[in-house]
């Protein structure tokens, strides 16, 4: 037995508490990490651990796949953490493509010295989010890089889902007079992460909107079918980036009324203070919908029946292309072009 105060013991304790390079080297430590920590937390089947690949069996419909990497800093922020974000982000990509998510893979890149306790918190968060969304984690990978070569933990998730119905989400189907709906208040995620990282100390602290969107998305598709022309979660670049993408794809002008864009009082105050336009700020649980004008009310009713999109509203419409791809009506009633986000405003938000 070591005296707990001796250096030797502290090193040993360090070995037990943090990620070592050996955790990624394929030996005993790695097996223990996966079998004793990762697999139980994610309810992985022991038989699945014996193989490097998972067999999914027959899927009921056309298969959709997406992949996304998560490098958010800080790892924990009000309203979420890198784990829940890694699940929601990928599930939302599937949902926006019109698919029902079924499976996830999980790849972890860990920095030497990363606290195992923190890893547990993140794995628990991944497990909770995956359970909540009804998807199972079927395959994974763990790598460890030397101290300084990563920022604690990076996560990649690949999502697999099954397409609902025949129609695919195609923003080129957006027509003039289509109504543009946003599912809820915008700009929350980016400001939550920025405020947490910079320790601004706002009270109340802004909270991320990180949430899965597959349920309202599926419901919309089932009810509106071909009258639902496009859906897109407004992640990096915010609502402005989606509007520009849609304008580009459809050849129409996207017109929005700034007064109708939902922004919480807290977001509004913080964005004003920091000189940031919420239209350019990332969301992780808010999406835009373009819908045939005759079915706009039906779409709103459908969205309102889900708590994640209960505060949806119409913010504008598509119209024949003018000089500008995206127009916004501000304060005094003049229509002006809305700039395309050119990046780098808030680095590493997802």
């Amino acid at each position: 037995m070591h005296d707990p105060s001796t250096p030797a013991c502290r090193i040993e304790m360090g070995l037990a508490d943090t990620i070592q390079l050996a955790h990624g080297e394929g030996g005993r430590l790695m097996r223990q990490l996966i079998e004793n920590r990762i697999a139980p937390l994610l309810s992985l089947d022991r038989s699945g651990l014996q193989s490097d690949a998972a067999v999914l069996g027959q899927l009921d419909g056309e298969t959709v796949v997406t992949t996304d990497s998560f490098v958010v800093s800080p790892l924990f922020f009000p309203g979420g953490d890198i784990g829940s974000l890694a699940v929601h982000g990928t599930i939302n990509d599937l949902a926006m493509a019109g698919a029902t998510p079924t499976h996830l893979t999980l790849a972890l890149i860990l920095e030497e010295g990363f606290a195992l306790q923190t890893l547990d918190r993140i794995l628990n968060s991944i497990a909770d989010a995956a359970n909540h969304c009804g998807v199972s984690v079927v395959a994974g990978d763990t790598k460890v890089v030397p101290r300084g070569a990563a920022d604690g933990i990076f996560i990649n998730t690949t999502g697999i889902g099954v397409l609902q119905g025949d129609s695919r989400m195609r923003p080129d189907r957006i027509e003039a007079s289509d109504q543009l709906i946003v599912s809820g208040p915008i700009g929350k995620h980016g400001l939550a992460v920025l405020s947490a990282r910079e320790k601004f100390g706002f009270k109340p602290a802004p909270e991320s909107d990180s949430a899965p969107l597959h349920q309202p998305a599926q419901d919309l598709r089932n009810q509106l079918d071909l009258d639902l022309h496009a859906m897109r979660d407004a992640t990096r670049g915010g609502v402005a980036a989606v509007l520009h993408e849609w304008a580009e794809a459809s050849g129409q002008t996207m017109w929005i009324d700034a007064a109708k864009v939902p922004v919480t009082a807290n977001t509004h105050a913080i964005a004003e203070l920091l000189g940031i336009d919420p239209l350019f700020v990332a969301n992780e649980g808010t999406f835009l919908v373009a819908v045939h004008p005759d079915r706009c009310e039906a779409a709103l009713d459908c969205l309102r029946s889900h708590s994640v999109s209960a505060q949806c509203c119409v913010i504008g419409h598509a119209q024949p292309r003018d000089v500008s791809a995206v127009l916004i009506r501000r304060g005094i009633g003049v229509d002006q072009p809305l700039d395309e986000p050119s990046g780098a405003m808030l680095p590493r938000i997802c």
Binding site: E198, H268, Q319, G331, S342
Partner: protein, 371 residues
């Protein structure tokens, strides 16, 4: 949001526009001094709404834009110095020096970090005692008190690994230089509300009389701006030459005494070249002799690069002096874009060229709402 939404009221704005149009007998030329005002005038559509009755030209009030490229080059050189962290406001990082910006210097290995306040830079110095932390201190009189506070604190705590590149400038000498130029067209100024919050407007009064130019101290929200314009036009139409304070919720005649004292304890008035303008007498704040130990240009003098001429295609000087509008520059939107800027006004959040590139389309007319 209180104290904000009421200054963006559309009905009130349209009423003010009507009033301005009602009393304007000729197309007066007004200059908004501050870049924040420029952006809001263009962004809110006020400029478009009044274009046929008034000419709004945009002044030199973008401190980032008037920071000489040699200063940026010096900062970049320091960012590559071993064990040195170069800090500045985020807005400064994208501004091109003679070859590159601080952001491109960072991707080339320089240690460049954005801070929200000079106090954060000082904290960084305290947390990194083995490194030199340099703050590129840009800004008008509005940001100078924060820099002065950081230096006072550094002195109090005897922090030796902190220094600044002093690049603070003063607004009024630039206004004077514009009025004195032979091709001046400015007939009234909308003075910069936030600068006046610190400096007050007492010193503007003698300038106003000497130059026969009415001055209205103006805020930044649409209603503030329209109100400032309305009062400028009233003064011009009534042939009255005086200073009117229309930003009284922040500005007092004698300014913020405590902030001014703080600045004066560290800085004195001096000369320094402005990018695009050349030397403006009394146009800068310089560190006092007993504060020179915090002056990075003394501490790291060998790193100061030679001055290089600015890109000749960029007409930033003409834009900032109000001689041309951004789109009258041949490079605007062609060789010079926000992604690949030739000059600072295209990238700074207060730059006039950036305002036009982002918010202005002259060929668009308001469209009917189809809801």
């Amino acid at each position: 949001m209180k104290f904000l939404d009421e200054y963006r009221d559309a009905a009130l704005a349209n009423d003010l526009i009507k009033q301005i149009r009602g009393i304007t007998s000729q197309r007066w030329v007004l200059m908004d001094v501050c870049g924040g005002q420029t952006h809001n005038l263009v962004r809110s559509g006020i400029e478009t709404a009044l274009m046929d009755v008034l000419e709004l030209i945009h002044g030199p009030g973008c401190p980032v834009c008037v920071t000489p490229s040699q200063v940026i080059d010096f900062a970049i050189a320091l960012s590559h110095r071993p064990n040195t962290i170069l800090t500045s406001f985020g807005d400064m990082l994208r501004v091109p020096g003679s070859h590159q910006s601080m952001l491109t210097a960072r991707s080339a290995g320089g240690d460049v970090r954005a801070v929200y306040s000079p106090i954060d830079a000082l904290k960084m110095a305290i947390e990194n005692p083995s490194k030199e932390v340099v703050f590129l201190a840009v800004g008008f009189e509005t940001t100078a008190p924060a820099t002065a506070l950081a230096l006072l604190q550094a002195d109090q705590e005897d922090i030796k690994n902190f220094s600044i590149i002093p690049a603070h400038v003063r607004v009024q000498p630039a206004m004077e230089s514009i009025i004195q130029s032979t091709d001046n067209r400015v007939q009234a100024f909308l003075a910069a509300g936030h600068v006046c919050t610190v400096t007050g407007y007492q010193s503007l009064e003698s300038f106003c009389q000497a130059s026969h130019t009415p001055i209205v101290v103006t805020g930044f929200e649409p209603i503030d701006l329209l109100d400032g314009i309305l009062h400028s036009v009233r003064l011009l139409e009534g042939n009255q030459v005086r200073v009117v304070n229309r930003y009284s919720r922040n500005v007092q005649r004698t300014g913020n005494a405590s902030a001014l004292r703080t600045v004066e304890s560290v800085y004195e008035v001096g000369d320094r070249p402005w990018r695009g303008f050349g030397n403006i007498p009394s146009g800068a704040l310089k560190l006092r002799a007993d504060w020179k130990r915090y002056d990075a240009s003394e501490k790291f003098a060998p790193y100061i690069p030679a001055a290089t001429p600015d890109d000749q295609r960029c007409r930033a000087a003409d834009v900032m002096a109000g001689r041309i509008k951004p789109m009258e520059c041949a490079a605007f939107g062609r060789e010079c874009t926000s992604e690949s800027p030739l000059g600072a006004p295209m990238v700074s959040s207060e730059g006039a060229c950036a305002a036009y590139a982002r918010f202005q389309t002259t060929s668009i007319t308001p469209l009917e709402r189809s809801e």
